[in-house]
């Protein structure tokens, strides 16, 4: 859905998305990195289970919620990626404690 401008390639680092190693661009947020890597959605809704993807990219819509390093419901568009980050897409409701 998105391609990177050649001039914007930048340094790469590796994160884990649902246990799968993914190379991302240093400087991207989690939500941008997921879209750039071709992830169609980042969670399913806790109400109907419908898939949802980042919508506003500016911290207001809460569609890009993901679990980051074990902490659930982080706004992916506000969290910069870090080497070794463990990102999990979310299915439905949050479990108690994360």
């Amino acid at each position: 859905m998105f391609r990177r401008l050649p001039e914007a390639a930048g340094a790469a680092l590796a994160v884990s998305v649902d246990g799968q190693r993914v190379e991302v661009r240093a400087g991207d947020t989690v939500a941008a990195a997921l879209l750039a890597a071709g992830f169609g959605h980042c969670r399913t809704s806790p109400v109907s289970g419908a898939p949802r993807a980042p919508y506003c990219m500016m911290g207001v819509c809460f569609e890009c919620l993901v679990t980051v390093d074990g902490v659930g419901n982080r706004q992916g568009c506000l969290v910069p990626v870090r080497e070794g980050m463990l990102i999990e897409t979310q299915r439905g409701e949050r479990e108690v404690g994360r």
Binding site: M1, F2, R3, R4, L5, E7, A8, A9, G10, R25, G27, D28, T29, A32, L35, A36, G40, H41, S45, V47, S48, A50, P51, R52, A53, P54, Y55, C56, M57, M58, G59, V60, C61, F62, E63, L65, V71, N73, C77, L78, P80
Partner: protein, 475 residues
């Protein structure tokens, strides 16, 4: 500033938001010698219009345009002013005692200020059409953020839909970046052109006129523009597949699409200001809530000012001038002797008036149609978080539910993580239309802190002020 501990200090002025208003307010206030901190939840300063201004990987200046690069001057002014800038700092509560609660570096902090400037800006108006929750549908602003922050350009069949200057700006930027746009579905109501005419003389003086016309011509040369769109639907199973649309009273047409970018203007982001009870009124032209403020941005709550688009949409240049006026008021209150070293208030007022010239023309021309603010179809989702539909809201109005807060109790609309940011205006206007009263009579959600979710552990670990301990501990 990187040290988290510094956020537990006392400051003279706390500015919330590092967009044009916050950057300008922070710079001027610090230059006058006031201890100033500028807080922003994003990883870098700039707000939305100057997003990633210090970090963008987009090197060719012409892609984002000269107006974008003006943001660098504002950041430089702040950096040389002595103000502290804290990024990744999420303000989740403010109090009438001027305590600012901030989540930063995985810890909650309490900052004590003598004045607060709220510069939390705007967000894109909700665009509740069928299918707007599908992956493959996002806001035009979202795509612009991806371009500015990450150098990402949409590919495949990309369709822009809606109305307003930002839609055209994004189209121009994407084209300059080598992107392709399948079509622009322009939802500007045809009657708006006539209604806007009487405001045209003032707009002739606006610096936006020539720029705007040039940009639209640039886009029209390369993209199919379909005007007078009155119906819009995103269709797909689990992701966007096609768009159904119609113009005027015409028959529905279909268009295959991979990405639909929606936009119908911006509205003030009122959550923080309303959470502290700042009085707002319904603006019948901009169709949104705006705070009651004086010329310096002072709100109904003492020592709290609102600057920038959060005080009513005026654009980036006006936002910076409003930030300066809020700073001048802060300096006058806290360090009157330093006022003489600041730019003359009269000059700032004049610059603001110039930036706002012709605003009524833009607001009238790009006022979105009721078709796209109040969903006609009962199945259209209004509250994305809790998946509440327009039909459910109308059914509850028929049962006697008269306002958004009662609606929350019945349907949970506005009670999801976005706290009404993406549904509040639609809920108010849908209820108003169903009841046949004005949005002002219907009112808005009661908003409460925390205005952004923070982990309970952060709150629990906060040092408690003496008064709070006294309130619960028996002597």
């Amino acid at each position: 500033m990187t040290g988290a501990a510094a956020l537990d200090d006392k400051v003279d002025v706390a500015v919330i938001g590092a967009g044009p208003a916050g950057l300008a307010a922070g710079a001027l206030s610090a230059r006058a010698g006031l201890a100033t901190v500028v807080l922003d939840e994003n990883p870098a300063p700039g707000g939305q219009i100057y997003r990633a201004i210090t970090t963008t990987p987009v090197q060719r200046k012409e892609i984002l345009g000269t107006d974008y690069w003006h943001g660098r001057e504002l950041v430089r002014e702040l950096e040389s002013s002595g103000a502290r800038l804290a990024t990744g700092a999420t303000v989740w509560s403010i109090s009438r005692d001027l305590e600012v609660a901030v989540s930063h570096g995985g810890r909650a902090h309490l900052l004590h200020a003598r004045r607060i400037v709220i510069a939390t800006g705007a967000l894109e108006r909700p665009f509740p059409v069928p299918g707007w929750t599908l992956p493959g549908v996002m806001t035009a602003g979202g795509a612009q953020t991806l371009l500015k922050s990450s150098g990402l350009v949409p590919e495949g069949r990309v369709v822009l839909a809606g109305t307003g200057p930002l839609l055209w700006l994004l189209a121009a930027q994407l084209l300059r970046a080598g992107g392709a746009i399948t079509a622009i579905l322009d939802t500007t109501p045809r009657q708006n052109y006539v209604r806007a005419l009487r405001h045209a003389p003032a707009f002739v003086l606006s610096p936006y006129l020539i720029k705007g016309l040039r940009m639209m011509a640039e886009v029209r040369r390369k993209v199919r523009v379909i005007s007078g769109v009155t119906r819009l639907e995103a269709v797909g199973e689990g992701k966007l597949k096609e768009i159904i649309f119609a113009t005027g009273n015409g028959a529905a047409a279909r268009m295959a699409a991979d990405l639909l970018l929606l936009h119908q203007g911006v509205v003030p982001n009122v959550n923080l200001a309303m959470s502290i009870g700042i009085v707002h009124r319904w603006d019948g032209l901009q169709l949104c809530w705006v705070p009651e403020i004086d010329r310096h941005g002072n709100s109904s709550v003492p020592d709290i000012a609102i600057a920038g688009d959060g005080a009513g949409i005026g654009g980036a240049v006006a936002a910076a001038e409003r930030g300066r006026l809020a700073a001048i008021a802060a300096v006058r209150a806290l360090a009157p002797a330093a006022v003489s070293g600041l730019p003359a208030e009269q000059a700032v007022m004049q610059a603001l008036a110039k930036a706002e010239a012709g605003r009524a023309f833009l607001d009238t021309l790009y006022q979105p149609s009721a078709d796209f603010r109040i969903p006609a179809g009962d199945d259209t989702i209004v509250c994305r978080c809790e998946e509440v539909t327009a039909g459910q809201i109308r059914a509850n109005v028929a049962l006697g539910c008269e306002g958004p807060n009662q609606m929350k109790s019945f349907l949970r609309c506005g009670m999801g993580p976005c706290q009404g940011r993406l549904c509040g205006l639609t809920v108010t206007e849908t209820i108003a239309a169903a009841r046949g009263v004005s949005p002002a009579q219907v009112g808005y959600y009661r908003l409460r802190p925390p205005v952004k979710p923070i982990p309970l552990a952060e709150v629990a670990a906060m040092p408690q002020p003496e008064s709070a301990v006294k309130a619960v501990v028996r002597r």
